[in-house]
């Protein structure tokens, strides 16, 4: 018996369009453009014997000539004075804090010969051992050629002293100064700002591109505490989220993912948590929800009020007086209310809304459910977002009046991310002096009179307090690459408070002359720590520095009573539910690019969006029904118009799961400035911040009542969703929790297929090999699809970035991909194949039968596409399965891919001649071919094309050249390193000692690697788990990767 659900990755796969079938048939997207190449060179492909001889002669001569090169003389330059802690060839690890976003996760930086090459999570930190994709990728911004080398006066280079003197003179005469930053929760930085503010008449304004000021304002009104609270998903048994993408982008996604997953792994006798998601855009979090309800964004308050009233009714509390009560099919809201009530104090209601009135309803609900002090903590609150939108509004209108003599931007780029950037840039011209501390030329620093570039966070000293009482330290892992100066030192210098310590704490430790002595801020920070946290001795401080974390006791003060009455909550609820008459535009963050600060990071651009699998662009996601109604197809261009802004053209993606009458566009794209000037990242998507609307001064991530209009032309999005298709074969297993509790093998208890082997006499036998047997287990329940593993793998294994054009050609090089499958949830409107024998062939439903049935029923559904609104989703990471009887190995004519006694499928680049037979024969489509030389090639002008970018290359892994095949090596360099360490220490290898790059970064621990010959290893246990299965077991290729059935709590 096979899984009866029909999964599909894109509509083309579901509908089996001729184009899809054609492309699925071919292993490679297009045949080689030989005709073109030959005609360019005046050759004809139908070459005669003479032509052949010409080519032959030419090639032989060329090879002979190439071989005549003398061997180049290579130089080796040792240290003059070797720092004690550096051993060439051995990595050092330093604990620090991630600076990619305001979440400030703890990180461990891997440093080889003085250059950081990899970042992973710090297990001691509040955010756990994992790290997200943007954190992983942030190491590349250190080696960004677009960083500024020294201070700038307008567009010309200047000296630090010159810049300092002019700025100081201007500041001294200024009557009113504004300092604009994103949220700062570093105690020492705040102290620096305080020093600055006391010296000059300064107003510090916090502007977060994505702000949570709705939550802050609601808490201020309701509890008298203007903070974003801490949420504890680890003890939440019921989670009801209204549009909050808490696993992907909302507040602190790595921490939330880590906690969330604790209740999501089905263990016998222990209930899983239940997750409801009400949303318009299909978010990554939505794809992981048990029950997902498509909701029109502008009706959010009505949904929330209805839920409030259902709960209140059952509790006998006052209800919100509203006219409309939402009734949902299947009684979903009522079920949610019941679930919440049965888990009082262990539930969580959250919302992505930035409207304080909506957040007040959320607070009211959580208050009724007694979640404060349990799943929600206002005392040990989050510091990650503190921006209040109304302050920024006030600043802009003051600025317009010309009331500021100087404006300083630090870590802030509002000219890009403020919704009315035109107004802001005009107003900025009225400021006496504009100074930017940005490390690159961005939209804001372009307008600045002076740019005093800040260090990268990996070059800086610093601290952070992401949560009240949870302190973390930032330490430099490399000397500043450019002539930059830490922003804190700049501010101290300007405030005349920069004091060089009498005794240089780094005396004798710095080999390279660092122009701006970091010791200024180091000693400053230490004095802050000593006065504020009592960290006085060198020993205490170094301990904190070593761990990267330091926590202080926060006395929990008594909860201030909730001030809001139910009747007043009605203010935020619209009197009438919005229906088919208008379209909501929802603005969301893509999991990789987020708010747009890291938009010029090629790793993040090439990371497929977890839901749509689109790379290198943003797009407008529209629901199927709307597309059908307006006759819009995938790849069409549309014009989007709101009352305040018109977006001329943006490509369309018909997104299953998109709620009817809503459309969504990702923020963070369409960056301008130096990035665009160079043309490298030009035209990456469109900036949609101008669509942001205001509700009582707070920015809303939506715009009610937009119109879309199809325009001429089309655009091909570089989308990987149907690449490497496995053609509808049964590779996914799922079951409900109810079934799982009854039978732990639910969804996975089909009869095992009879195994045939084509290599009877050459059967690979592991018996008699006493060594290791490496294997991996991947829990489909734990995988949220976030893509951190994809980026981590690329960094570890020097996987090249190929760019948009090549992704369109299905030539992305990622060794690990996350396949995202949809299936219709609502089977009333869609056909599903009845579970009868006639529909099975060899125990499996054929794709043709399954899909034909859906197609038939759909065409008869009379234009009702509401089933597209809700799809259930599975994320499945797929990498080389390291088959013990690997089909690729038997077809390689030159033995470039072979099997090791440790169970690895080895790929030897220097043997490979590029026949691509192996890729053709791989049932999992995991082999990647180097169509080009991706390094030192101007056509691929990413980090592999410049000396600075190449600093990030992992020296233990070969950089592949053109014409060879590559694939997941199971981080063999890590295996070898781990084994060697054990051998050197003359001891056994411990389980969990060797971690794969993908495994190491996974916030949810979805990937486990280990030795199957060790029966007690984690992976051995998972192999014995009844949920585990091999992909395409019937092929008898004996994979070394097992997957664990997905269990949904519905």
């Amino acid at each position: 018996m096979a899984n009866k659900t029909t999964y599909w990755r894109g509509e083309e796969e579901l509908k089996k369009t001729p184009e899809f079938l054609e492309s699925a048939k071919n292993e490679f997207h297009e045949s080689l453009p030989l005709d073109e190449v030959f005609s360019e060179n005046n050759f004809e492909l139908s070459s005669s014997r003479r032509d052949f001889l010409k080519f032959f002669g030419f090639s032989v001569t060329a090879v002979a000539l190439a071989a005549c090169n003398t061997t180049p003389v290579k130089k080796a330059i040792p240290y003059l004075v070797k720092p004690e802690e550096v051993t060439p060839g051995v990595a050092n690890y330093y604990n620090s804090t991630c600076g990619a976003c305001s979440s400030a996760c703890g990180i461990q930086v891997k440093v080889r010969e003085g250059r950081p090459i990899k970042i992973d999570g710090n297990p001691l930190s509040y955010s756990g051992r994992g790290l997200c994709a943007s954190g992983q990728a942030s190491i590349l911004s250190l080696y960004d050629t677009e960083r500024l080398d020294g201070p700038m006066k307008g567009n010309t280079k200047t000296e630090w002293d010159e810049a300092d003197n002019t700025i100081k003179a201007k500041l001294a005469s200024a009557k009113k100064i504004a300092l604009i930053t994103e949220t700062i929760h570093s105690p020492s930085s705040l102290s620096v700002i305080n020093d600055f503010v006391t010296t000059y008449p300064t107003q510090h304004i916090v502007f977060d591109p994505i702000s949570y000021s709705g939550i802050i304002e609601a808490n201020k009104v309701g509890f008298g505490k203007a903070v974003v609270p801490s949420y504890n998903f680890a003890i939440a048994k019921v989670i009801v989220s209204f549009g909050a993408d808490f696993l992907g982008t909302w507040i602190s996604p790595v921490e939330f993912s880590k906690d969330y997953i604790k209740n999501r792994i089905p263990v016998d006798g222990q209930k899983m948590s239940r997750h409801y998601q009400f949303e318009s855009t299909l978010s990554m979090t939505g794809t992981n929800a048990d029950i997902r309800v498509p909701m029109k964004q502008s009706n959010e308050a009505i949904y929330l009020a209805s839920l409030f009233n259902l709960v209140a009714k059952k509790l006998g509390a006052t209800q919100i007086p509203i006219a409309n009560q939402i009734e949902l099919a299947g009684n979903t809201l009522n079920n949610a209310a019941n679930d919440l009530l049965t888990n009082k104090g262990a539930s969580l209601v959250i919302s992505n809304s930035n409207n304080p009135e909506v957040q007040q309803i959320v607070n009211g609900l959580n208050m009724m459910l007694e979640n404060y002090g349990k799943t929600i903590d206002l005392t040990k609150h989050s510091n990650q977002y503190k921006g209040i939108d109304t302050e920024m509004e006030a600043f802009v209108s003051e600025l317009e009046k010309g009331n500021y003599d100087a404006v300083i931007f630090w870590n802030s780029n509002p000219v890009y991310s403020y919704h009315n950037s035109e107004k802001l840039s005009k107003a900025l011209s009225k400021a006496g002096m504009v100074v930017s501390l940005s490390g690159t030329k961005d939209e804001t620093s372009e307008l600045a009179h002076y740019i005093c570039p800040d260090n990268h966070y990996l070059e800086s000293w610093g601290d952070a307090e992401p949560k009240k009482g949870q302190l973390q330290l930032v330490q430099p892992t490399i000397s500043p690459v450019f002539n930059t100066r830490q922003a804190q030192i700049s501010l101290l210098v300007w405030a005349n408070k920069a004091q060089k310590p009498e005794v240089d704490p780094f005396a004798g430790k710095q080999i390279m002359g660092v122009k701006y002595d970091t010791s200024i801020y180091y000693t400053y920070m230490k004095s802050v720590w000593s006065t504020k946290y009592g960290v006085q001795t060198e020993e205490q401080f170094n301990k904190a520095l070593h761990d990267g974390v330091f926590s202080i006791e926060i006395p929990s003060d008594s909860m201030v009573s909730y001030q809001i009455t139910a009747s007043s909550l009605a203010n935020g609820v619209p009197s009438k539910a919005s229906g088919n008459d208008s379209i909501d535009l929802v603005l969301y963050q893509n999991v990789g690019i987020k708010e747009g600060n890291n938009a010029n990071n090629p790793w993040l651009q090439e990371l497929p969006d977890p839901v749509s699998k689109v790379t290198w662009d943003n797009y407008i996601a529209i629901p199927k029904a709307l597309a059908e109604k307006n006759k819009i197809n995938n790849g069409d261009l549309v014009k989007v118009k709101s009352s305040s802004f018109t977006l001329d053209s943006i490509p369309v993606l018909i997104q299953p799961g998109q709620a009817n009458n809503t459309v969504s566009i990702a923020l963070g794209y369409g960056r301008k400035g130096k990035v665009a000037e160079k043309g490298k990242f030009e035209k990456i998507g469109k900036n949609v911040y101008p669509f942001v609307s205001l509700a009582s001064g707070h920015r809303q991530w939506m715009n009610n009542g937009v119109s879309i209009e199809k325009i001429e032309g089309s655009y091909e999005l570089a989308m990987t969703q149907t690449h490497h298709t496995i053609e509808g074969r049964d590779i996914l297993r799922e079951a409900t929790e109810k079934d799982f509790l009854a039978n732990n093998a639910a969804g996975n208890d089909m009869a095992r297929p009879h195994m045939y082997t084509v290599w009877e006499k050459h059967e690979y036998k592991r018996d008699g090999h006493p060594g290791h047997y490496w294997a991996m287990a991947i829990d489909l329940n734990a995988c949220t699809g976030c893509g951190a593993c994809v980026v981590s793998c690329s960094i570890e294994n020097n996987v090249p970035v190929v760019g948009r054009e090549e992704v369109r050609r299905r030539r992305e090089m990622h060794w690990i991909r996350i396949d995202r499958y949809f299936a219709f949830e609502n089977t009333d409107k869609v056909a599903y194949l009845p579970n009868t024998d006639s529909n099975f062939e060899d125990g499996f439903i054929t794709k043709e039968k399954g899909l034909a049935a859906i197609d038939k029923k759909e065409s008869s559904s009379g234009g009702d596409f509401s089933h597209y609104e809700n799809v259930k989703t599975i994320h499945q990471p797929v990498m080389c399965q390291h088959c013990d009887q690997a089909p690729c190995e038997t077809v390689c004519p030159v033995l470039a891919t072979t099997h090791s006694t440790e169970g690895l499928n080895q790929m030897t680049y220097n043997r490979c001649i590029g026949t691509k037979y192996c890729a053709n024969n791989c049932p999992y489509k995991v082999r990647r071919f180097n169509w080009f030389r991706y390094n030192d090639n101007d056509k691929f002008d990413f980090f592999f094309n410049n000396d600075l970018g190449k600093m990030v290359i992992n020296p233990d892994v070969t950089v592949r050249t053109r014409g060879v095949m590559e694939k997941c090596s199971m981080c063999v360099q890590r295996i070898q390193e781990g084994k060697l360490k054990a051998k050197r220490e003359r001891r056994q290898l411990n389980d969990g000692e060797i971690q794969m790059a993908c495994q190491r970064t996974c916030p949810t621990n979805a990937i486990v690697f280990g030795d199957l010959n060790d029966k007690e290893s984690e992976v051995s246990k998972l192999y014995r788990n009844k949920r585990s299965y091999h992909l395409l077991e019937e092929l008898n290729v004996q994979t070394s990767v097992k997957y664990l059935t997905k269990i949904r709590n519905i």
């Binding site: 071989a67 061997t71 003389v73 290579k74 130089k75 080796a76 330059i77 040792p78 240290y79 003059l80 004075v81 070797k82 051993t87 060439p88 060839g89 051995v90 004798g508 002359g513 006493p770 060594g771 072979t898 090791s900 006694t901 440790e902 690895l904 080895q906 790929m907 030897t908 680049y909 220097n910 043997r911 233990d956 892994v957 070969t958 950089v959 090596s969 063999v972 360099q973 070898q976 084994k979 060697l980 054990a982 051998k983 050197r984 003359r986 001891r987 056994q988 290898l989 010959n1013």
Partner: protein
């Protein structure tokens, strides 16, 4: 050439001086009691040069004319046990101690008074600047041809080619003589009754075209075979590669003569993939003091000076002075160039397998100029991996493997595949040491 001459002149000068000195010392060695020759020996034996030189400051003060500065009695006390002397409240001793920043001198209770007097005698002698003698030029003096090996090779080539030319010439002359003889005979009208030989008869039967083709193909094939062999064994193989290095560092002197452990300089070999070229501060551990002035007329050795220049270090100032602000790099020429596609880890071989450095690097301790000893070809690696046994008994990492082997031996006795010559025999190849991704990833 002029340089070379000048150099040899210097060498000669020094040799003469040495001979003169030796004569003096040998003579005085015969005398009883303290003598300078014994003093010199002791001076070096006791490790004095680590801190002292005659005419310059090393760690401690320069010793020139020390006997004129201090009384012999005081010196004897000081050298024997300076701590005691200081504790006894000797003002001079305490002053000296303070002057030198509280850096205490070692105690030499083991030296007898006579021995110390010998050392002092040596210092006295050495304090007198050597007379500026102009070394006489003498033919037949020994001069070391440092590039002798190069010349001998070239000479061989020249000789061989001359020989070849001569052979060809001889052959041509022989043919010429024959045809001349024939011509003479023809003109003289003497008919020669030529009787074709048996060989010629046989040869005449062969089709000349086929014969020519045959010969050409044989030559072609042999050339091809040679080319193939050459390609396999020579192209890209840098065995014997001994480039000139920026500093003429002699492994023969350091590792051979002075017997410095390889690991003293290549200290990371046991825990890193690279054995690493030592950083200059490692050199300075010795060369802050060791300047080989005795070989260069009191000047610092030009090679050692290169270290100081690179570090921007001035040895005439206090030695604990930090290096100057304008350092430059020493760009060594890499000798062992493994291609990027292969991963090699020194720790695995030197530490885990416990190999001697010489096994791959050859007799480094005899190399004046370091050269590549092994071919570094894959076959060379594989060969060793096939032959070398893994020490499963003394490394707990292999505990399971060892247990399996022991069990198998118990069960199968002498037939066990883990047994050879009555001993456990597991080679690297047996545990996957020939697999591609052990080195290629």
């Amino acid at each position: 050439m002029t340089k070379l001459k000048a150099k040899s002149k210097k060498t000669m000068k020094r040799m003469l001086l040495a001979v003169a000195f030796l004569a003096v010392f040998n003579f005085s060695a015969l005398a009883e009691g303290p003598n300078a020759a014994e003093g010199k020996e002791l001076f070096e034996q006791q490790g004095c040069p680590a801190c002292h030189a005659i005419d310059r400051i090393v760690v401690g003060p320069a010793l020139k004319d020390v006997t004129k500065r201090r009384s012999e009695e005081w010196l004897l006390k000081w050298i024997k046990n300076n701590v005691k002397l200081r504790q006894s409240g000797d003002a001079d001793a305490n002053q000296l101690y303070a002057d030198w920043g509280g850096a205490a001198m070692n105690v030499y209770e083991n030296l007898s008074d006579d021995q110390i007097k010998s050392i002092l005698l040596y210092i006295d002698e050495a304090s007198v600047p050597p007379p500026a003698t102009e070394g006489d030029k003498k033919d037949g003096d020994v001069s070391v041809d440092q590039e002798g090996s190069f010349y001998s090779k070239t000479t061989l080539y020249i000789l061989v080619s001359i020989g070849l030319v001569l052979l060809i010439l001889a052959y041509v002359l022989y043919r010429l003589k024959n045809s001349m003889q024939k011509l003479v005979k023809d003109t003289e009208g003497v008919s020669v009754d030529e009787k074709p030989s048996a060989l010629r008869k046989k040869l005449s039967k062969i089709n000349p075209t086929i014969a020519t083709l045959g010969v050409i193909s044989v030559i072609g094939l042999s050339l091809g075979a040679y080319g193939f062999y050459f390609g396999v064994t020579e192209v890209g193989v840098q065995r014997g590669y001994a480039p000139t290095q920026p500093i003429a560092f002699s492994h023969a002197l350091h590792a051979g003569e002075l017997n410095v452990d390889c690991r003293y300089c290549h200290s990371t070999v046991d825990h890193s993939k690279s054995a690493s070229i030592p950083s200059l501060n490692t050199c300075m551990n010795c060369h802050a003091g060791v300047q080989a002035r005795e070989k260069y007329n009191g000047e610092i050795s030009p090679e050692i000076q290169k270290i100081y220049t690179a570090l921007d270090y001035n040895p005439d100032e206090m030695p604990d002075k930090r290096y100057g602000p304008n350092p430059t790099n020493i760009k060594w020429v890499r000798i062992h160039n493994l291609p990027d596609l292969s991963y090699f880890n020194h720790a695995q071989h030197a530490n885990v397998a416990g190999l001697e450095c010489q096994q791959c690097h050859g007799p480094v301790q005899e190399m004046e100029v370091l050269q590549q000893h092994a071919t570094l070809q894959m076959g060379w690696c594989i060969d060793c991996h096939r032959k070398t046994e893994v020490d499963v008994e003394n490394n707990d990492y292999y505990e399971k493997l060892h247990a399996v082997a022991k069990k198998d031996i118990e069960k199968n006795g002498d037939k066990s595949k883990y047994l050879k010559d009555g001993k456990i025999n597991i080679t690297i190849a047996n545990i996957g040491g020939l697999e591609c991704s052990k080195c290629h990833y």
